[in-house]
C-alpha cells in the first residue's frame, strides 16, 4: 500500500514539469522521498505487524542485513568507478568455505583463517581488476566469469560437501579440527546495549565498515577521484589520475569486504555450508542500486547503500511477521528494486535536463 503511494507520487512529480525552477517541492520529494518511505514502512509495520515495534525485532532486522550490507558496500565501491562486481556472492561463500577448511580440516587458528580469507578476497579483487583494466574484459563479464570459477573452486577441496567437524575427507580420514570459539564469536557474540545481549557482532561490523566506506568515498581525495573516474574516465585520466590503479583498488575493496561477509556467515553458521549464501549477490546488488535513490543522489553512495539494505531488511521482516509466504519475498525485493531504479534514472535524467 505504501508502495503504491510512492509510485504515484513519484510519477506525479515527474510528469508535468518543463519549468525547472518551480520544482522546489519535487526536489524535496527526490531528496527525502525514499527516507520518508522508509519511516512510513516502519510505522506501517509497527501498527499492523504484531511484535514488529521493539528492540528484538530491530536487532533481527539488523542481523539479517549485516552481511548483505557489507557486501553491498563493496559493490558500491565498484559502481563508483563505473564498474560492477558480480563475483561478490561467490567470493563470500568461498571465504566461508576457506575459513571452515582452514580451521576444521587444516586445524589452523582463527587468526590464520581470518588472514587467509582476507588475502583471498584481496587477491580475487586484484585478479578481477587486472582482467578488467589490463585484458580489457568488460567488467560484468570478467566478474561473472570469476563468479562461476569460484562457485566451482570452493567445492573442489571437499568434493562438493559441506565442511563440519567430524566430516570424512576425500582420503578417508575424518576432519578433527573445530571452529575456534573466538571465530564463532565474530558472528554470534551479542553486545549489551540498553538490553542485555542485544547487539549482534556482525551489526557492529556493518556500522563500522559503512562509516569507513562513507568516509573514504565522501571525504578523501581518493574517493573523489573514484567518482571522477565513474563519471568521465577519460577526463580523469587527462587530469593525471591513475585510472587503472583506482579501478583495481575498487575491486580489491569489494573482494575484501565480500570475504569479511563470508567469514561472518561462517561464524554464524559454525560450518562451511555449500548451500548457503545463494541470495547474497542479488540482495547486495539490490541494496546498492536502491541506494542510488536515497537523498536524490542518483549515484552509488555508501549511506544510500546502507539504507537500501535496511529497507529490504525491514520490508522482509515486516512481511514475514505479517505472515506473508516466503516465496513472495523475492518478488517484493525485485519490485522495490525496479521502482527505485525508475525513480533514480528518470529523475536524474530530469535533473540533468533541467535548470
Amino acid at each position: 500500500m505504501s508502495m503504491n503511494q510512492t509510485e504515484t507520487s513519484s510519477a506525479g512529480s515527474r510528469a508535468p514539469k518543463r519549468q525547472p525552477h518551480s520544482s522546489g517541492l519535487i526536489d524535496i520529494a527526490i531528496r527525502y522521498g525514499f527516507l520518508a518511505l522508509l519511516v512510513g514502512l516502519v510505522i506501517f509495520f509497527s501498527v499492523f505487524a504484531n511484535g514488529f515495534a521493539g528492540p528484538r525485532s530491530a536487532v533481527f532486522i539488523f542481523q539479517s542485513v549485516a552481511i548483505t550490507g557489507i557486501l553491498a558496500l563493496g559493490v558500491t565501491c565498484t559502481l563508483v568507478v563505473g564498474g560492477f562486481d558480480l563475483s561478490i556472492g561467490s567470493v563470500a561463500t568461498s571465504s566461508m568455505m576457506l575459513a571452515a577448511y582452514m580451521m576444521v580440516v587444516l586445524e589452523q587458528s582463527a587468526f590464520v583463517a581470518i588472514v587467509a580469507c582476507l588475502a583471498m578476497g584481496a587477491l580475487i579483487g586484484l585478479i578481477n581488476g587486472l582482467l578488467i583494466v589490463k585484458t580489457k574484459v568488460p567488467d560484468l563479464l570478467a566478474t561473472l566469469g570469476m563468479m562461476f570459477l569460484l562457485v566451482g573452486l570452493q567445492r573442489i577441496p571437499t568434493e562438493g560437501r559441506s565442511i563440519a567437524t567430524g566430516m570424512s575427507l576425500p582420503d578417508g580420514s575424518t576432519a578433527e579440527g573445530t571452529f575456534s570459539p573466538l571465530f564463532l564469536q565474530l558472528g554470534r557474540h551479542r553486545f549489551d546495549f540498553m538490553l542485555d545481549n542485544l547487539l549482534p557482532a556482525p551489526v557492529i561490523f556493518l556500522v563500522v565498515i559503512g562509516i569507513l566506506v562513507w568516509v573514504f568515498l565522501e571525504l578523501t581525495r581518493h574517493g573523489r577521484l573514484m567518482y571522477a573516474i565513474g563519471s568521465n574516465e577519460r577526463a580523469a585520466s587527462l587530469t593525471g589520475t591513475n585510472v587503472n590503479n583506482y579501478k583495481i583498488l575498487a575491486y580489491m575493496i569489494s573482494g575484501v569486504l565480500a570475504s569479511i561477509g563470508g567469514m561472518l556467515l561462517a561464524a554464524r553458521l559454525g560450518r562451511g555450508d555449500i548451500a548457503s549464501g545463494t541470495n547474497l549477490l542479488l540482495d547486495a546488488v539490490a541494496a546498492s542500486l536502491i541506494g542510488f535513490a536515497v537523498l536524490g543522489a542518483a549515484k552509488p553512495n555508501a549511506f544510500g547503500t546502507s539504507m537500501g539494505a535496511l529497507f529490504v531488511g525491514i520490508l522482509l521482516q515486516g512481511l514475514t511477521m505479517m505472515n506473508a509466504p516466503y516465496y513472495t519475498q523475492d518478488f517484493i525485493k525485485g519490485l522495490v528494486l525496479v521502482i527505485a531504479l525508475v525513480f533514480t534514472f528518470s529523475l536524474s535524467a530530469r535533473k540533468a535536463g533541467g535548470h
Binding site: T220, L225, T239
Partner: protein, 510 residues
C-alpha cells in the same frame, strides 16, 4: 548533364541555443564532384545528417530531382536516392558478417525480404555488385579479415547498390593509403560520369586537388564560398573556410622571458620531417593547421599521450619524455584537452570539484579533502574568469558551453605551471566567452610558456604572439603576429603539398 540534382534553400537547424545551420543555400549538380570544406564545428556533419535523414531540419526546404525531400529516417533517405558513407568506416560495415551480407544488409532490412535468408541468391547478387564496382573480393570472406581500404570500398559498394542519385562521402580517405585512395577516386570518377552527384567532404588538399569539380566552403553554419570553373581557387576556398573577419584583437607582443621548451629534431611520425621549436616564458604561441596536419599528435606527445618517433624535448633545460599525463603534470606541463564533453568535463561534479580535480592533493590533509579551501579556490577562479553561474556548487551541466570551457581552463590556471597546452580552447564557445578566454590566457601568461592549438586562423590571430603552421606532421611556417599577411599563412596552411612542389619546381625551371 549538369542539371541541379539537389537543392537546399534557407536551411536552418539548431540544437538547443546553438544555431548550427543558418539560412544555408546549396545546390548540387548531377554528374559532378562537389567538395565541401569546413573547419570543426562549421556544420558539415549536421548538413550531412540532415541530407541522410538522421536529423530533421528546423526550417527551409530541400528538393531532390525537383521533388520535395524531407527524410525522417536514414532508410527513407536511402530509398529516395541519397546515400551516405560515414567517416567512421566501422559505422558502414559489420565486421562479423561476410562481404555478401555487408553488401546486401540494407536489402535484408527491407520489409519485403521475407523471414529466411536466401543464401545462394545473396552470394550471386553480391558478386554482381562487387564486379560492377570493380571489386575483386571473395564475397564469402568475413569483413573482419579485410583491411581498412577494402572495408571502405565495401561501404561505398553497398551504398551503390541503391542506385544513388546523390552520394555523400564523409572523409573517405582519412584511413586510406595513397594507392587505396586512388582506387576510390577512380570509382568516384566512374560514378560521376554516370551522372551521380557526389558530395565529398575532406580536408586533405591533395585529395581535393585530385577529385574536385567544384569546392564549397562552409563556415559557422553558412556557405562562405563556392568555387567553380576550370582553375579552382584552392587558397580562396581555404580562406573562405577558415575566415578572417579581422577582429579587433590588439596583441602587444611582450618580451619573451626564460626559455622553457626546447625541441630539437622532433619527428612526430616515423616518416615525417623533423622540426625544431623553442618557446619561452611570457610567450603565447598558436599552432594551427588543417585536420590531420599533426597538431593533435604534437599536443599529445607533449602531454605524455603518445611517443614521438624521434627527437629531443627539453623543459627548462632538462630532458622531458613523459610516459603519461601524470608524469607530464608532475613536470609542470598542463593540458586543457579538446572536445571538453568527452575529455574534460566530469558531468556528475559541481564547478568546484571540476576545478580542483587535478590538484586534489593540494586541498587535502592525509587524503582528507579540505572543502572550504577548494571552495575558496573555486570562487577565486569563478571571479577571475567571470564564469556566469549562481555559485561554486552549481552542477557543471547547468552552465553554457562557454562557461563550461572557462571552468575547464580554470582547472589548469588554478596552479602555476611551466608549459600550458590548450587544445582547441575556443571549441563550441560563443564570441564573448572566446574573447574572455583569450584575454585571460594572455593575462596569465607571464610566468609560463603557452601553446594554443587552434584550427581557426581568427582564433590564432586573437591570442598568439607567434603563429606556427603545421602540415604533414611537421612545422611548415612560422609568423610573428604583427601585420601578418593572411595570404601567406593560408598558403602555408594549404601548401607543402606535392602538387605545389611540382608547380614550384616548374616555375623555377622556367
Amino acid at each position: 548533364m549538369n542539371g541541379t540534382l539537389c537543392d537546399l534553400r534557407s536551411v536552418d537547424k539548431s540544437f538547443g541555443d546553438n544555431r548550427v545551420l543558418k539560412q544555408l543555400n546549396l545546390s548540387l549538380p548531377a554528374g559532378s564532384v562537389t567538395v565541401l570544406m569546413g573547419a570543426n564545428g562549421a556544420g558539415k556533419s549536421t548538413l550531412v545528417k540532415i541530407l541522410s535523414g538522421v536529423h530533421a531540419l528546423d526550417a527551409g526546404s530541400i528538393t531532390l530531382l525537383g521533388k520535395d525531400f524531407r527524410p525522417s529516417t536514414p532508410s527513407e533517405a536511402i530509398r529516395a536516392g541519397v546515400v551516405t558513407v560515414h567517416q567512421n568506416i566501422n559505422d558502414g560495415v559489420i565486421p562479423d558478417l561476410d562481404v555478401a551480407s555487408n553488401l546486401l544488409i540494407d536489402r535484408l532490412a527491407e520489409p519485403g525480404y521475407g523471414f529466411f535468408l536466401k543464401r545462394r541468391q545473396n552470394y550471386a547478387d553480391a558478386e554482381r555488385i562487387a564486379s560492377q564496382m570493380g571489386l575483386s573480393l571473395n564475397v564469402r570472406q568475413s569483413v573482419a579479415e579485410l583491411g581498412v581500404a577494402d572495408r571502405q570500398l565495401i561501404a561505398i559498394a553497398r551504398a551503390m547498390a541503391h542506385d544513388p542519385q546523390l552520394l555523400i562521402l564523409d572523409e573517405p580517405t582519412s584511413s586510406l593509403s595513397a594507392s587505396e585512395a586512388e582506387r576510390l577516386f577512380l570509382l568516384i570518377e566512374r560514378l560521376s560520369a554516370k551522372g551521380v552527384a557526389v558530395l565529398y567532404i575532406s580536408h586533405r588538399m591533395s585529395d581535393i586537388r585530385r577529385i574536385a569539380d567544384r569546392i564549397v566552403s562552409m563556415r559557422d553554419g553558412e556557405i562562405s564560398g563556392v568555387f567553380e570553373g576550370e582553375e579552382l581557387d584552392y587558397e580562396g576556398a581555404v580562406n573562405a573556410m577558415l575566415g578572417h573577419r579581422m577582429t579587433d584583437a590588439d596583441i602587444t607582443i611582450g618580451t619573451p622571458g626564460k626559455r622553457v621548451l626546447e625541441i630539437t629534431d622532433l619527428k612526430l611520425l616515423s616518416g615525417s620531417k623533423p622540426f625544431d621549436f623553442d618557446l619561452s616564458e611570457n610567450e603565447v604561441v598558436a599552432i594551427t593547421g588543417l585536420l590531420g596536419s599533426g597538431k593533435s599528435a604534437f599536443a599529445q606527445s607533449l602531454f605524455g599521450l603518445g611517443r614521438p618517433a624521434g627527437g629531443r624535448i627539453r623543459i627548462d633545460g632538462e630532458d622531458y619524455a613523459p610516459a603519461n599525463p601524470k608524469a607530464a603534470i608532475a613536470r609542470g606541463v598542463f593540458m586543457s584537452a579538446k572536445d571538453r564533453a568527452n575529455n574534460a568535463v566530469v558531468a556528475d561534479f559541481d564547478i568546484t570539484r571540476n576545478i580542483t580535480l587535478p590538484f586534489l592533493g593540494r586541498y587535502s590533509n592525509l587524503s582528507f579533502v579540505r572543502r572550504s579551501d577548494e571552495r575558496r579556490t573555486a570562487n577565486e577562479m569563478i571571479e577571475a574568469l567571470s564564469v556566469v553561474c549562481q555559485g561554486e556548487t552549481d552542477s557543471i551541466g547547468t552552465l553554457s558551453g562557454g562557461n563550461q570551457q572557462k571552468v575547464m581552463l580554470a582547472r589548469w590556471l588554478a596552479e602555476q605551471c611551466r608549459l600550458l597546452l590548450l587544445d582547441e580552447p575556443f571549441q563550441g564557445v560563443d564570441i564573448r566567452a572566446r574573447r574572455d578566454i583569450g584575454r585571460k590566457i594572455r593575462e596569465t601568461a607571464k610566468n609560463r610558456a603557452t601553446l594554443v592549438f587552434v584550427s581557426e586562423l581568427d582564433e590564432a590571430l586573437e591570442v598568439a604572439d607567434r603563429i606556427i603552421v603545421m602540415t604533414e606532421h611537421s612545422v611548415a611556417a612560422e609568423f610573428r603576429n604583427e601585420n601578418v599577411d593572411l595570404n601567406e599563412i593560408l598558403t602555408a596552411v594549404t601548401g607543402a603539398m606535392p602538387a605545389d612542389a611540382d608547380s614550384a619546381a616548374r616555375t623555377a625551371h622556367a
